[in-house]
């Protein structure tokens, strides 16, 4: 049974495990990485470290109603790259996109063979939903994937919260963390490590978070807080393109997806006057097929111009289509159906209101994340990255994250062969240091009995970022002075983390979530400051530099935090076009 906590760091039991491949985060990408590693090399030990439960962890906890990139008949790897390039404002890693795209269909078809229902059209082809999307009944897709991981014989450590990498020099040789139920400190030594912890929600204040129960009424999985980014930042890994934030048009108040409606049922976005916004005001940028950042910005511009609220116009839909639409939502965000019921809303009479989401850092949608090579190796030896935590490949979405998991596993196995794990015990002093850092909120609770709760600090961070680093309440707009203000207060907040207190392991996890969010937020603001142009108006609006500047900024903005000094250095890397 559970012991009473808090406890002193020195009283926490240590568990030392060894494995060949350690995967941090058992979401979609992590599960595919585990399966690929195990089926290629069944004799190897493959271990997943997961802070929740593998059956329902990560972005797919509630399910998914579509896979947004599948290369259909008539399309090619090259056409996918061109489309993705246009969607991303001309900036993506084409080498990474090509290698991802080559595996995309295989990953999706495997999922189907394991039990994921994919809808079919009259010819038996996957039912298309727009140019790249296919429609699925994915409410149980994560459970199906988790079963497969177990079937292959991977070891799953549920409820272990990763806190930092284990390092041997600058080589990553595993990770450390704590078990939420056992209350033990875990040190997992590994030959190769794959990070797959997802992106970062919660850096910004959502407009939905009134005082009582709706703090997490957000689009992206709120339990993905950027821990993988933060661990990399602390270890000096190079990160890319954090400034390409993901802000999207979502259903107003609920913050649910709208591609389901606008792509799936061709419902146009309209303003308060009933004008079709994209067709009438953004025709020169592609109309309904305009890049996603344009689509994200469009309703916000309408609001600013006094033409809000905005809607997706569902009034032309037939009752059968409405039923299908609701079934789609039940597969992805079931409570949107409850939301409509709780509004007593008949969407054939009243259209669905839309608005911008709070900003997220999500490498599956934009190019933010670890700077990696085609093997998915990060700049830290021994560490590979895949899924939302890996950068360079916007628009990979669910299928692309799965494909990237496969690639990361292959990269890790190759690395293991050429660079066997260092022999000997891990550095005791570093482990001790980490243990003290991890359990500091317990230590303070025991010694002082009061301080700052992780919820307080999270709300302070979220308001700061919202107002000074271009949140939804500021219509995503920012300037240098505001960003510098944000940096100044982020530094104070980071210093204040020593006052965090936790009374149990859940609170301890929340403390480390906010510590990780602060590290990600700081790097993000440095990125936003550096890019003195506006490349993606809905995602990154520098009001002091409103134009796109290809001459200076058609390149990647990368960062590295010096682990010794804590200083964030910014560098640029060239964009290389491979596909004409």
């Amino acid at each position: 049974m559970t012991k009473k906590f808090p406890v002193r760091p020195q009283d926490v039991e240590e568990i030392l495990l060894e494995t060949d491949v350690l995967i941090i985060g058992a979401g979609n990408a992590g599960c595919y990485a585990a399966i690929e590693a195990k089926r290629r090399r069944p004799s190897l030990r493959v271990t997943l470290m997961e802070k929740a439960h593998i059956d329902r962890s990560g972005c797919l906890a509630g399910g998914m109603d579509a896979i947004n990139t599948y290369i259909k008949k008539g399309e090619t790897v090259e056409s996918l790259v061109r489309w993705s390039r246009d969607q991303a404002g001309g900036l993506l890693r084409e080498d990474l996109t090509v290698t991802m795209a080559e595996l995309l269909n295989q990953a999706i078809e495997e999922w189907e063979s394991w039990g994921l229902p994919i809808k079919k059209d009259e010819n038996g082809e996957y039912l298309a939903r727009g140019r790249w999307d296919i429609a699925i009944h994915g409410s149980e897709m994560k459970v199906i994937l988790a079963e497969k991981v177990r079937e292959y014989g991977c070891e799953v450590l549920n409820r272990v919260v990763a806190t930092n990498y284990l390092l041997d020099g600058n080589r990553v040789v595993g990770a450390m963390g704590f078990h939420l139920r056992e209350g033990k400190f875990y040190v997992v030594k590994a030959g190769a490590t794959i990070v797959a912890t997802g992106g970062a929600a919660g850096l910004y204040k959502p407009y939905t978070n009134d005082g009582i129960d709706s703090h997490h009424q957000i689009w992206y999985c709120p339990f993905n807080v950027g821990t993988g980014y933060a661990m990399g930042i602390r270890a000096g890994a190079e990160m890319t393109t954090f400034e390409m934030r993901w802000c999207a048009v979502r259903t107003k108040d609920f913050n649910g997806p709208i591609d389901t409606i606008s792509v799936g049922y061709k419902a146009p976005m309209i303003n308060a006057r009933g004008e079709k916004i994209l067709a009438e005001r953004y025709a020169h940028l592609g109309g309904d097929k305009a890049p996603r950042f344009i689509r994200a910005n469009a309703p916000m511009e309408e609001w600013l111009a006094g033409r809000g609220p905005c809607y997706v116009d569902t009034r032309q839909m037939t009752p059968e289509q409405v039923k299908d639409l609701k079934t789609d939502y039940l597969n992805e965000r079931p409570t949107f159906v409850l939301f409509l019921a709780a509004r007593g809303q008949d969407i054939t009479k009243e259209p669905i209101e839309v608005y911008g989401s709070d900003p997220y850092i999500v490498g599956g949608h934009t190019a933010s994340g670890y700077w990696i090579d085609v093997k998915r190796a990060t700049t830290l030896p021994g560490l590979f990255a895949c899924g939302d935590v890996a950068g360079g490949v916007p628009n990979k979405f669910v299928g692309g994250c799965a494909a990237e998991g496969i690639l990361a596993a292959r990269g890790a196995l190759e690395y293991l062969e050429s660079s066997p794990a260092p022999a000997g015990e891990p550095d005791k002093e570093r482990i001790e240091q980490e243990k003290n850092r991890v359990f500091q909120p317990f230590a303070r609770q025991l010694s002082t009995g009061e301080g700052i709760s992780p919820w307080e600090m999270e709300e302070r961070l979220q308001r700061l970022m919202d107002e000074y680093a271009g949140g939804v309440h500021q219509f995503y707009r920012m300037n240098r002075e505001r960003l510098e203000y944000a940096l100044k207060h982020l530094a104070i907040l980071k210093d204040q983390t020593r006052y965090l207190v936790a009374r149990d392991f859940h609170e301890l996890m929340k403390c480390h979530e906010v510590i990780d969010m602060l590290d990600v937020a700081e790097v993000l603001v440095h990125h936003l400051l550096y890019r003195e142009e506006t490349r993606w108006p809905g995602w990154q609006n520098r009001v002091d530099f409103p134009e796109r500047n290809d001459e200076k900024f058609k390149c990647f903005v990368n960062s590295r935090r010096d682990p010794e000094t804590g200083k964030v250095e910014i560098l640029t890397r060239p964009y290389e076009q491979i596909i004409p």
Partner: protein
């Protein structure tokens, strides 16, 4: 978006190593009350409404409610999980009932 727990139905999953809602919640939010042995949500503001707990509950003791600021009382959405299919019943604030059944796993 917190789940409401029907305390008559919840038996704390006696016999399981860990109550199923406690084991599954991606936010580590479900806990058993040490005195009553019944489940509760420890931080209702942190729930993401993924309904994993509702789907996992063998007693159908959990129900996801919308925060009141998002939607009015008393709409309901109840899943009935089969092995390869799910049936959802939705009741709106005016008492209208809708049902949805579909396959969620291949045969």
């Amino acid at each position: 978006m917190p789940p409401r727990i029907n305390l008559q139905k919840c038996d704390g999953c006696k016999g399981e190593k860990e109550a199923l809602c406690v084991a599954i919640c991606p936010g580590d939010l479900m806990v058993l009350n040490e005195d009553t042995g019944k489940a509760y949500c420890r931080s209702t503001r942190d729930c993401w409404d993924c309904m994993s707990c509702v789907k996992a509950c063998p007693q159908s003791a959990l129900e996801t409610r919308l925060p009141y600021q998002l939607g009015y009382y008393p709409a309901k959405l109840i899943p009935l999980m089969g092995s390869k299919r799910v049936t959802w019943t939705c009741v709106d604030i005016n008492g209208n009932i809708e049902r949805f059944t579909y396959q969620n796993r291949n045969e």
